[in-house]
Symmetry: C2
Subunit: 345 residues, 2 copies
Amino acid sequence: VPTLREVGELEAIRRLTAAWGEPAAARDTDPAGVRIGPGDDAAVLCPSPGCDLVATTDAFVENRHYLAEWFTPRELGARLAAACVSDIAAMGARPRWALHSLGVRPDHDVDALVELQRGIEVFVAGDGAVIVGGNIVAAGGLEWMSLTLLGEAGAGRAWTRSGARPGDWVAVTGWPGRAGAGLRLARSSGDEARRPGWQPLLDAWIRPQSRVSLARSLAATDAVHAAIDVSDGFAGDLMHLCKASGVGAELEAESLADPLLETAARTLGTSAEHLVFGPSDDYELVLAVDPAGREACEQVARDARIRLTFVGRFSGERAELVRRTPDGARQAFVMGGWDHFSAER
Amino acid sequence: VPTLREVGELEAIRRLTAAWGEPAAARDTDPAGVRIGPGDDAAVLCPSPGCDLVATTDAFVENRHYLAEWFTPRELGARLAAACVSDIAAMGARPRWALHSLGVRPDHDVDALVELQRGIEVFVAGDGAVIVGGNIVAAGGLEWMSLTLLGEAGAGRAWTRSGARPGDWVAVTGWPGRAGAGLRLARSSGDEARRPGWQPLLDAWIRPQSRVSLARSLAATDAVHAAIDVSDGFAGDLMHLCKASGVGAELEAESLADPLLETAARTLGTSAEHLVFGPSDDYELVLAVDPAGREACEQVARDARIRLTFVGRFSGERAELVRRTPDGARQAFVMGGWDHFSAER
C-alpha cells in the first residue's frame, strides 16, 4: 500500500487529478462550465448568464465529525459532499463546482485518498457538479477535510432563512433524527448497531441523500418562503430559521413520530422526541411553506417519492418554539444542536 | 482571555460574523457583489456579466506552513490570503470573494481568531474582495486554516501555465528566494533573525505583497503568454510552467543576483543561488513575455514600482532547465520545491 510519504506530494497530486479525468482546458467550454480544470494556479469556470453564484464551505475532523471505522473512504467523501450539497439545496440552488482541501497524515494510503475524492466526485455528480480544484497538506494529529461548493440560482431567487411568515407551514423532508440516532448506536453498541433492523438509521448517518432535485422542484412552485438544512438538529436549526425570520413556531410533536426512533430510544436510554428534535445532522430540509402552496409541495414530494411532513405553523412569537400535545396543551421547547467546542456529541 | 470552549461555537461564529460588518442582505446588490452575506446556509453572490469565475484554495498547517511565534494572528491571516490572492494574480484575474475554513483548538483565544480573520479580510480588501463565508471546527493536534478565493477575469482571458512559447522572455517579479531565506534564518538563528539587516527577508516571508494590481496592468498589455506564482520555489515553479507549456528555459543565473541573499547564504551555510532558485514561497509571479511586449511590461512595472527581472528565455527543449554562466557555458539545473509529505523544510 503506497503512502503519501512514499509517493511524495507531486505524485499524489498527479494521481488525484488524473483520477478525475482529462483537464477540461482542451475544450472551449464543456457542459460542466469548466474552462480550465485542475492543474493550473486556479480553475476557470463559466457562470451561467442571469444566475447568482451560491457558495458554501464545510469541514469534517476525524473522530469529531466522523468515526473512520464506520465509513469507507468513498462514503466519507460522499458524506462531506452531502453536507455542502445540503447547504446549496437549502438555498434552492443547484451545485456546480467543488474544491476540496485535505489534511492527511503522511502515512495515509494514496489509493484511499483517491477513493475519498471519488466519493466527493460521484456524490456531486448526482446533481451535475464537478470537482475543479483541491489541496492536500500533511495534517498533524487528527485528519480533516474541508470542501467548498459553488452553485447557481436564478438571480435574486435563492431561498434564505429569513423569509418565514406567521401562518406559514413548518415542513421537513425525510426522517429527522435518524442520522444522530445511527451515530449514537454506533458509539454505544458497536457492531450491534449493524444488525439489519438499524440499517435505516445507519444509512441516514453514513449515506445521506441529496435534496437538490426536490428543492429545485419545490422552488418552482413559488410556495417556499424560507429554508434551512438540518445540520445541527431539527429543533436547533428550526430555531436558527425562526430567529432569522423574526418568527416562532408551534409544532405538533406527534406528526414526526418515528417507530424506529422509538425503538432506538429505548436501546439508547433516551426519548424518541429527543432523537427527533435533538442533535443530528440529517441533511434534510426545513421549509416555511405558504399555506396556499401546501398541496403543490405535497404533490412535488409525492412525485419525488420523498417524505415531506407538515409539522406545524410559524407564529408571531419571535424565536419561541412551542410544542402542542394531543390534548391541546402548549409546552416550551428547549433543545440545542451540536457545539463542537463545548459539548460532547 | 475568553477561549472558544468558554464562549461556545455559536457565540464564536456570532463574533466572527459581527466582526466583518453588516450582512449585505439588506442591500439589493452591494458594490462587492454580495447579495446575501455570511449567516445563511450559503452566500449569494452576483458574478459580473461577461466574466469567467476563477477559483483557488490553499491551506496552512501550524509548524508546517508557518511558525506561530513569528506571526501575529493578523499577519497569519494576511499570509494565508496572500497565498490565495497570488494564485488569482497568476491567472491575471482579480479576487472578489473569500470563504475560510478554520481548525482551531478549543482553548484558542476568540479575539485572536477574530484578528486572524481580520488579517484575511484586510488583505483581500486591498484588491477589492470580501469574506462571504467561513467555517470553524475544533482541530485535534496542529491547527490548520484553509481559504478558498473566488475571482473574476474577462471571459477566456485568464492566463494559464501552458501558453509559453520558445523565444518568450522568462520574467519574475520581486526578489525570489527571500521568503525562504527569511524562514530559514528564523529557524536557524532565532531572535538573531530580527536584526534590522534581515528585515527585507523577514518581510518577504511574513508579509508578502499582492501582485494583483501589477498582473492586471500586465494583462492589459497582451504581452503575457503564461504565468505561474512562486509558491514552491522559483526553479520548481518555473519547471511546472515549462512542463505545462511543453517548453524549456535557459536562464542567466546572474540576472537574479541578490546581495542580501549572498549575505544570508553565508550565515546559513548555503549558496545564494540555492536561496534564489530553491524552496521559497515568495508569492511572486513568473511570466512568459512576448519579446515584442517586453518594453511595455517594463514600463508597467516601473509605474507600479515593482521589480520585474528578465531572467532568460524559454526554449524548445521540453522541460529542460539550463543556466548560462557569464562565460557562456550551459549547465543543467536541478532544484526542487517543497514536498510537505516527504521532505523537511
